[in-house]
Symmetry: C2
Subunit: 214 residues, 2 copies
Amino acid sequence: MSRWIVAYHHGDLPAALLAAVESAIADSGVSGVSLRDVARRAGVSHAAPAHHFGSKAGLLTAFAAAGYQLLAESVIKEVAASDAADGAAELAAIGRGYVRFAVSHPAHFEVMFRLDALDPGNAEFVAASEAAYGLLTATVERCRAAGRLHGRPPEVVAVSAWSLVHGLSALWISGRLPERIAEQDPQRLAAAVSDLFVEAVLPPARAGGSDAGL
Amino acid sequence: MSRWIVAYHHGDLPAALLAAVESAIADSGVSGVSLRDVARRAGVSHAAPAHHFGSKAGLLTAFAAAGYQLLAESVIKEVAASDAADGAAELAAIGRGYVRFAVSHPAHFEVMFRLDALDPGNAEFVAASEAAYGLLTATVERCRAAGRLHGRPPEVVAVSAWSLVHGLSALWISGRLPERIAEQDPQRLAAAVSDLFVEAVLPPARAGGSDAGL
DNA sequence: AGCGGTATCTTGCCAGTGTCTAGTTTGTTC
DNA sequence: GAACAAACTAGACACTGGCAAGATACCGCT
């Protein structure tokens, strides 16, 4: 067994190519990224990316999968940083973590949801996406067990929470949002929106009882 | 003055090209659309689209502006179809109309928010977008006047409502959502999510008083 | 030390793309 | 009918993604 899994000519070209994708998107947007430009940025020939990722869709899919991992890390970190006494506080933290990821890694975020430019059946991509979604459903289930859903369908609450922070992230990154409102700090806005949702939709339970399950 | 503004060779090539864009996106996704393919679909030479729209970005920008008009029409129609007794019911109708537009015209919706492929400074595009956004802020203002904001900042409520339905639309169209949940009718889901938001965030005012303004 | 095998990466090619320039056709106006 | 403007075509250019063939560097094995 070798000490490094990949350490031939370049060192770790796949990682270098993914980094090149990020800087290329930062410079010219997702639609402006080309395999050849990415290859140039990494200092290799124009056909090298295809060797590792199969095609442009394969490269972007790997980039998107890496994005899902960054998303999960950001969410977990934000939950850990908060007190997160209960599921509701945890849900607000997840929302902040989601937006924090999107704003810190807009290139990843944009690619993750451009399924027409990706290979959506890719196993790694699906697994990474499942793992991230599981964080949300687990927390909504915790809210349900604590009786904070007040009879609302868990699925609707989960979809609403996800849509809320996803929409906020997408609108912020697209630039449609910051040009229209006074608040210019996305993190404060994310906190306000998340708190609004949790306070209004998931107020503390009256008795100690729990809601009905899914 | 001529009776028709544009009626030379083709009849109305700009409109035909915009229709061709929609079918091209339906066939091969936004990233798969090319000026030459659009021209072929309209039965004209490869350089004809550039003559009318300047560039690929110009063509997509015109398509996005048309999307904003369709969005406004869908929202207004949904509000009119509902009873819409007060601002809160109106807001829920706006949410349903937003999602209905996105699901009925996914090609337009996707292009509208791909600002990296557009010419975001285009006057028509900006105006169409402003008009659509104005419908939302006007309704939130009506809720505020009716005392249904309960002290919450109007800006945060407006952003939350917009983010909620935008996220729901984007996730549904991207396919990430329908593959994860039981509800397969986007319109019923939109109604459930909109109602959840309005019930929880904008319950009827206790007294008759109004909240503080912006 | 040297050999075979393999993964890495390069080079060259192809059809297709967006944009530019020049030219042709068509309709309007005087 | 002639001058003009607008609509559209035809050709060229640099660029793209994908493919096939080859060169290079590393590894395990004897």
